[in-house]
Amino acid sequence: MGTEAAAAVEGKAKPRTLDQQRKRLGLYMTLPAQLLLLFIVAFPLVMQLYVSLTLWSPLDGEDWYYAYKSFTWFYNYIDLVTNERLWDAIGRTVLIMAVVVPVEFLIGFGLATLFVDSFPGKRIFYSILIMPMMIVPAVAGYMFFMIFQSNGPLNQLLGIDTVWLGSPNLAMIAVMVADIWQWTPLMFLILLAGILGVPEDQLKAATLLGASWGQKFVRIVLPRMKTVIVIALVIRAVESFKLFDLMFIMTKGGPGVATETISVWIFKLTFNDLDWSYVAAIGLSILIALSVFAIIGLTVMARASKRMNADVVD
């Protein structure tokens, strides 16, 4: 900003070259990131579209660029729409999301309210509570795999002999518990940052005016935290949709296909069935669906934040 203004005042010759210099440097500096992005977006997308319109599989013994020999237009996509296994997998993925995200949010929020003011031992408790999210997810999967064994420590603690990972519904619950264990700390961390960002003088003023704890919470804390809450929920929703590590290690989608999420199903199709053109079609469909959701979400959020800014100005 400043240099542009300066350029206007000082005349044209020298500042313009400096501007050009800066522009060129900017291009060079962004080049690596641009190339990486292009590398992982442009070519893969085109190839994915191409392969998804064929019946190609690595078993054909021919390279992917010969896939046109089995060109079938939209056969894979039409088949997808009527594939019950897909819709079941989507349903399970959404179910997991619908359970774990609110539970993580509520526990995380509850814990965060306990950490607002200081008390002895706060720092050490805080460090312990956020530790689960730093555990390598695959290792967390192995931990819970051991814990949920029928002769494992959980059954011993509860005094039961339930077969957790071998029965469809209980296996889902076990994976949800593992996910909640691992990611509640993230909610806790983000929401605590949000609560601490609420201006203290407003709370003090409210206290002076005789507002109760509940009133302060609903009238001051919650409205101030709207953005933080949305960010926390969106991040967890997106991540829980991708759920793979925990599920794959704990159940491999089993028993049968009872705990198959989208990611686990895609993995099996790729490595067990080697149905690569079909997987390409699924992948592309997911990318398109998620992009549509993202665009809708961003539009809604942009509108909401505009309204919120207006509120603050008022």
């Binding site: 962004t30 641009q34 977006v41 893969p44 730093m134 940052a193 993995f267």
Partner: protein, 287 residues
């Protein structure tokens, strides 16, 4: 008033204590399992104990040397290779992400070029890796990058680029521009300004970003599962192989290795605790 306060505090400590126990339960089970002899890996519920009855380093001996007096089976590969592979690929991936991310963030933040980058890299984070797995696998195979250190490092660098980019972007935005502009007026070239003026100012931020991105790369499972086969499998993928027809799941060996895998990110995470919120929300929130 006083008694009310202590009651509230009592409830607070009780709730926090429950949460702490829940947070530590699985980790503690794995940590003690790592030192249990084979006979205690799986027992009946009645014989289950938290602390090993006969603590041993046998599990570590087994994963590092491939054999142990307690086990008839032996490993065809020790855990040394996978630990090395995890270290190399996570580090190089971090290098790629942080260099490209830092340069790119500075370019966007100061020179206004590459307006597509902020949202473009964010999109990388939205999509499940498995949705693009077919083209990536074909590409990596075509370029001879399956099961190589450079292939895995490259994809790690791309996958964590969004975090590096956004973190550095928010850190650059916080640096006062007056100093840079003063240096420019003094006749410094824009590159020298970046290299000699701005970069030293964000040293601490850069270190935070490096540690954060390293944790993410170290924590990967699915990408290594897809793109490595044998020579460059990382720790989590190798853990999968710690199963034998004779003994089934090798709980103790897995726990021993799991403990090694868990320690670096937990320590690094505690070091950068203050910046975790910023990192995980792509700089949208600061602590």
């Amino acid at each position: 008033m006083k008694s009310h306060l202590t009651l509230a505090n009592g409830v607070r400590y009780a709730v926090i204590l429950i949460a702490v126990i829940a947070a530590l339960f699985p980790v503690a089970w794995m940590a003690t399992m790592a030192f249990k002899p084979v006979a205690e890996w799986t027992t009946t519920v009645q014989d289950l104990t938290w602390l090993p009855k006969e603590p041993t380093f046998g599990n570590y001996e087994f994963i590092f040397f491939g054999t142990s007096d307690q086990l008839i089976v032996s490993l065809d590969r020790s855990a040394t290779g996978p630990i090395f592979a995890s270290l190399v690929t996570a580090s190089l991936g971090t290098l790629i992400a942080v260099v490209a991310g830092t340069l790119g963030a500075y370019g966007v933040s100061r020179f206004g070029v590459g307006k597509n980058l902020p949202l473009g890299v964010l999109q990388l984070r939205l999509f499940p890796p498995l949705a693009v797995l077919i083209p990536v696998m074909i590409m990596w195979a075509f370029l001879g990058m399956i099961d190589t250190w450079w292939g895995l490092s490259l994809i790690y660098g791309i996958v964590t680029l969004p975090f590096a980019f956004w973190l550095m972007m928010t850190f650059f935005d916080e640096v006062p521009r007056e100093i840079e502009e003063a240096a420019l007026v003094e006749g410094c070239s824009p590159w020298r300004v970046f290299y000699r003026v701005t970069l030293p100012m964000v040293k601490a931020a850069l270190a935070t970003t490096i540690l954060f991105v390293f944790i993410l790369n170290w924590s990967d499972y699915v990408i290594a599962l897809l793109l490595t086969r044998k020579d460059w499998v990382t720790i989590p993928v190798y853990m999968n192989a710690l199963t034998s027809a004779m003994t089934g799941q090798m709980y103790g060996a897995k726990a021993a290795l799991g403990l090694i895998a868990v320690i670096p990110p937990v320590i690094l995470g505690i070091i950068i605790q203050k910046h975790l919120v910023r990192g995980l929300t792509f700089g949208a929130l600061k602590q």
